[in-house]
């Protein structure tokens, strides 16, 4: 693994305190890896022309360049720079959870959001930031200027997850706010009732927006690493429950799997990208998802 790609790992990124550096490292690591990846040819080099590759639309071939160079080049990127992205952050108390005392779900989300912001600004895509708890708290309008990175990152750095959340209501609120078709990237652990959230996501989708749902859970929430008799406390409602972890693990994983499957199914039906993540996963998965989405929009 190259030195740059290591920054895709949460445990490495955790050691970098500055958020802007974190975002930069993640994106650079990602892009470096991308050159050697099957995505090679899906150019993000920001030139007017790029080599034609099978699968590109033959109508896009620049015949003038062909005449000069006897090689196929396509010209595409002028139109692609107009994707407006919204980073939508869940600020609920549960997002502050970490079992291994490393990255919390919120920190992971922030890193990811910052990296995406960085990536989008690099492509001259306007990007905004929306945070919500029980309703929308902050809203940073999208801009494509380079200083937007500083604005977004400084806001992200100030955020603190606390209190309860109402994702459904907040997303409906967001749908009402957005005037133009945008790319909405939601970062949440979705630990709330399923129905209102799915309903709100559908509403966003019906509003003509593309939605990527980053479902971020803690490693512990995915693996249930507890053993023996344990008492678990829900941080938002303070509900306590005593369970035998060993015997319960199977049931829990089954329940979680069912939960994720519900979202996957519902999102698929609504044309929403559902990306299940946990805080132990590298960041490239999320970035790849973004790029896939961007490509499909192109």
């Amino acid at each position: 693994m190259s030195t740059v790609e290591k920054y895709l790992k949460p445990e490495v990124i955790r050691q970098i305190s500055r958020l802007d550096l974190r975002a930069e490292f993640i994106v650079k690591g990602f892009l470096h890896g991308l050159h050697a990846s099957p995505f090679h040819g899906f150019s993000v080099e920001f030139s007017e022309h790029r080599k034609y590759t099978p699968g590109d639309n033959p109508h896009d071939i620049d015949w003038l360049v062909y005449a000069k160079t006897d090689k196929y080049y396509v010209k595409k990127f002028e139109a692609e720079t107009n994707i407006t992205g919204y980073l939508v952050m869940d600020l609920s108390q549960s997002m502050a959870y970490t079992y291994r005392q490393e990255l919390t779900k919120f920190e992971y989300s922030i890193c990811l959001a910052a990296a995406l912001c960085y990536l989008m600004i690099l492509q001259n895509d306007p990007v905004g930031l929306v945070t919500f708890a029980e309703s929308i708290n902050n809203c940073l309008p999208p801009k494509s200027k380079r200083q937007q990175i500083g604005n977004v990152l400084s806001l992200l750095a100030r955020l603190k997850p606390q209190g309860q959340t109402d994702a459904g209501r907040s997303l409906i609120q967001l749908a009402a706010m957005l005037k133009h078709a945008s790319l909405v990237m939601v970062f949440s652990d979705l630990l709330a009732d399923t129905e209102p959230i799915i309903s709100a996501l559908r509403r966003l989708r019906h509003g003509g927006h593309d939605v990527i749902l980053f479902h971020i859970l803690d490693e512990a929430e995915v693996e249930f690493p507890f053993e023996g008799l344990v008492e678990l406390e829900e941080p938002e409602s303070n509900v306590r429950l005593e369970v035998d972890a060993d015997s319960f693990r199977g049931d829990y994983l089954q329940e979680l799997s069912s939960f994720r499957e519900t979202y996957r199914r519902e999102c698929f039906q609504s044309g929403i990208d559902y990306v299940p993540l946990d805080t132990g996963m590298p960041f490239d998965r999320a970035l790849t998802e973004y790029l896939s989405m961007r490509r499909s929009r192109g």
């Binding site: 929430e221 829900e234 035998d244 939960f259």
Partner: protein, 709 residues
Amino acid sequence: MGFVTPALLGGALLIGVPIVLHLVMRREVRQYVFPALRFVQQRKTLNQHRLQLRQMLLLALRCAIICLLAFALARPTLRGSGVAGQEGAPVAAALVFDNSLRMAYVRDNQTRLDRARETANWLLEQLPADCPVTVIDRGTQRGGRDLDRSAAELRLERLATSSVVRPWDETLRDAADWLREQHDHRGEFYVFTDLASAAWNEHTLADFAARLKELPGATVYLIDVGVEKPHNFAIGALRLSGEELTPGSLLQLNTDLVATGEIAEHGDVTIELYLDDAAGGMQKRGQQVLKVEKEGEPAHVEFSLSGVEPGTHQGYVRIVGEDALPSDDVRYFTIEVRPPRKVLIVGDQLEDTLFLREALAPTATAGLLRSKFVCDARTMAELASVTLADYDAVCLTDPSPPAAATWQSLTDYVHSGGGVGIFLGRHAKRDELNEPSPQQLLAAKLRWQSRDATYLRPTAIEHPALAGLRDMADAVPWSEFPVFKYWELESPASGVVNIASYANGKPAILERRVGSGRAITMTTSVSDPAGNDPWNLLPSGPDPWPFLALANGLVEYLAGAGDAHFNYLAGQTVLLHLSPDEELSSYVLQMPGASAVRQSLTPGQRELSITSTAALGNYRVRAGGEKGKLDRGFSINCPAEMSQLARADFATIAKSLGEDRVRLAHNREEIEVHVGLGRMGRELFPLLIVAMALVLGAESLLANRFYKR
């Protein structure tokens, strides 16, 4: 099940500790913040139930460990006698011996009783010093007595086989009764037996089982001192053609030779008959060599004796040689040869006495056979002049009622021990016979002459007067000898015994005891010839053998011949009737083995009653010195049961008495094992400890699995 240290069972109460810990000191659980609790909550109920189940399982296992430990320390025993609240109670031992003659069976130069005694002495040493002991045998002494150790040893030393034994169930009952009196003791029966099936019969087992139910903690140890395959020859009971004979008559002795066990290839057995001679010694009078073909199948033995001089004679039949059980190799007998009994037969005419006279002393065989009776026929007119005391019996055949004085002399005669038979017929006059004088002898008042044709049909053939008909009771063709007329009687007086009835149920022959004699009334005639409107055809029918047997039986009974018994079984009371001329104040009883006992008689005592009849052999009763005023005898034999060596099946005994109550031992080692098992039971300690270890392992495994850190 019992416990050696039952108090430690209280330790089981410590199961309260884990229960209290479970209820009060719940284990501290680790706490975590966990936002995804909603997934947990949805499966909470199921998991909680599972958790509770595990907790209860662990609690149960922990309680089980404590219980098992307490249980194991209390040392439970299986099938021990330490039950019914008598755990740890001292032992009371009843040593019960079958000392019947069977126990004299010799094997390895030792009788079964010797072997039992040897084992019992050893057992006595093993019993705790303060253990109450009793020794009970089948002898005449009833009930058990508390014995100290030395007294018990003395009883054992004096134990001997006896021909006179109580029933086995009675002996066992005595032991059970004694043990029941031993309060706060655990009862133990040590029954020394040869396991003979004759002793362990169904009745005994049922009775003993009932007694055992009253002794819930008691254990029975059957100590089998018998021989697995006994081998024995035995002479069965002697069957004599008569115990009282007339001079010149023939004596027939019949018996059986019975073999037990495997018959040797050359199993010829010699049987000898001995009879005393004039000099007082024994003389061999017969010998037979028998070959026993099959086990258990009796071989018949028959001897005949003739020419025996008048007087009392004794002898024996024996097997030559010795076998393992000597008591049944000899059978003793006593006979008495005496002159024929004198019978006076009186009728209105001498012809009336003919049938009875011929029946008792047939003239046709007078020169050939000696009759049992000498008959003297007289007319009623001559009766007053006859000295009745000269006769053993007087028979009145269809008499016209004699004078009152004659009736009185007849009554006096009966009072003094004589016998009078009155055969009523056509000459009887009801009113005269219903007078007080005749009614002193007659069974009842006469009512009328009945003309209902019927026939004699004796039903109660147990009466001694009908003893001659007993063996052929069903074969007698009484209906071929019809009775046309008979005197119907009023209700007989109390004490009158109906010997025989007619087919219509009316009484035919009745007996009345008067003083020490007896009077018999027959309600129909025995003197009517067939052609002259006979009252019956009893004496005059074709081939009238039933009449002969009946007449002989009745007159024998009247003459007292039926009372003569000289052969008894051990333990029976011997009765010897004295004749009126035998006036004694004392006599000497000569017992087998030459010991003699002098006994006194009360004035007027007419019979000797002898109860000390335990020794087998010939007894002699003498009085009056050399003049021989009294010289009688009798023989004592052992019951045939004492030769039955067939063994009972222990499984049957155990089933009847309860398989957990009875144990069989053959030797000291087995006794030690069984008594140990009986008292302590089979110790469950090792099993319980293993079980506890398993439960402990399971608890650790589950606890580690449930509460992983």
